[in-house]
């Protein structure tokens, strides 16, 4: 038996008739066609499907769409206006080579979003623990840490550090 839910996604209200077993990530990707949110595992291990649910980062592969009824969702597509200025995290990832294949990136950025909100000036160790629910197979994490640090600096209104690689 389907259930009608109301969700606000990236600021737009939707009323959807969904099967109770529909996973939130499938609602986002298949029903709303927001394909920036990815699926990397079945067991809430990889974090590629991370989105913000009422501002909190969650793994949308392990949440049912019906559980989002009455709530608001932010996906990577909603982080900054299309074609408009990038969010400091998006900019930070680009400037600091915080991504290779790009598959984990949306989840990583949304997780970092909540991390910086709760802790605007995190240490390297706090960042590493803060993104421990997100797997990246390409970057070795050094530059993701650097990207989040850079974004934090920018969001605090401070001068951003150099993005040149320390590769001597």
């Amino acid at each position: 038996m389907n259930k009608t839910i109301n969700v606000t996604v990236n600021g737009t209200k939707h009323t959807l008739d969904v099967e109770p077993r529909l996973l939130l990530v499938h609602m986002i990707r298949e029903v709303l066609n927001l394909t920036g949110t990815h699926i990397g595992c079945d067991t809430s291990s990889c974090g590629a499907c991370t989105i913000l649910l009422n501002g909190k980062s969650i793994k949308s592969c392990t949440v049912l769409a019906v559980q989002a009824d009455g709530k608001s969702i932010t996906t990577i597509e909603g982080l900054a206006p299309e074609g408009g200025p990038l969010h400091p995290l998006q900019e930070g990832f680009k400037e600091n080579h915080g991504l290779h294949c790009g598959f984990c990136t949306p989840g990583m950025i949304l997780r970092a979003h909540e991390l910086l909100e709760k802790n605007p000036n995190p240490t390297e160790d706090e960042i590493r623990w803060g993104i421990s629910g997100n797997l990246c197979r390409c970057t070795g994490y050094n530059n993701i840490v650097k990207a989040i640090t850079w974004a934090g600096t920018k969001m605090r209104g401070e001068e951003t550090p150099s993005t040149e690689p320390e590769f001597v």
Binding site: R21, D42, G47, S57, K59, T62, R111, G130, S132
Partner: protein, 289 residues
Amino acid sequence: MIAQSFQYESPGSLSEAISLLNKYGDDAKVLSGGHSLIPMMKLRLATPAYLIDINGIPGLSHISEDGGIVRIGALVREAEVEHSDLLAKHFPIFRDVTKLIADPQVRNMGTLGGNLAHGDAANDHPAVMLALRASVAITSAEGEREVPIDEFFFGFYMTAVQQGEILTEIRIPVPPNGTGSAYHKLERKVGDYATSGAAVQLTIGEMGVVTAVGIGLTNVNSVPLRAVRSEEALLGKPLSEETIALAAQYASEDCNPSADLRGSEEYKRHVTGVLVKRMIHKAAERALN
């Protein structure tokens, strides 16, 4: 990975939830944080016909203190446990344990009630609750009953929560001054289930004598294990390297770990002793500060 179809109910009150559980019986499952249940459903290891989502029920999300008891609603999220100042004040162990549970996103969803009600000795809160000598409130159509934590776990995925019942609150006695608590687990990588874990709370009275102690162990027995002999080795005596070593040795001897991908039985026994020793030291240090 997609779950088998089920009927979804989101009751607005506890009584409504309980009547649904009674109506659907064995075919119904309670959905709280869902981070143990939904993966099992996606793998179709679990195929409940009815899912009773209790997240919309008011009155289950509190952390409060009254009459020397800290009360934690079953729906309190791990992230809230992690950041609660009230809990941090009385039980530094919660900061230790929550940091080691899964990852931040899972902690935003996962609940303390669910962690206990799942009845998995590999979960971390059971050992903590043993150390803190908590009790658990379980509500059914007949009302509420309070079950001491020692009488809560019965086997793999088996707890005192029966058909038609919901775990509603966790109650922890506020310890006296001079109490400290600590938890650590060994994990293969961050977010993993424990290879072994130890939770310790102890109270140090005059002359350095241990006046109260609780020690719980994670994932080294089919049910969460209280290290009874380890507690006895400390209780009523001044804390010393000898008593601590004895407590560690007893924990190592009394646990029943099985060999698996996390390690051999011998290794698990060994590190259980090490963890108990370290957590006693850490709890004692906190007790004295």
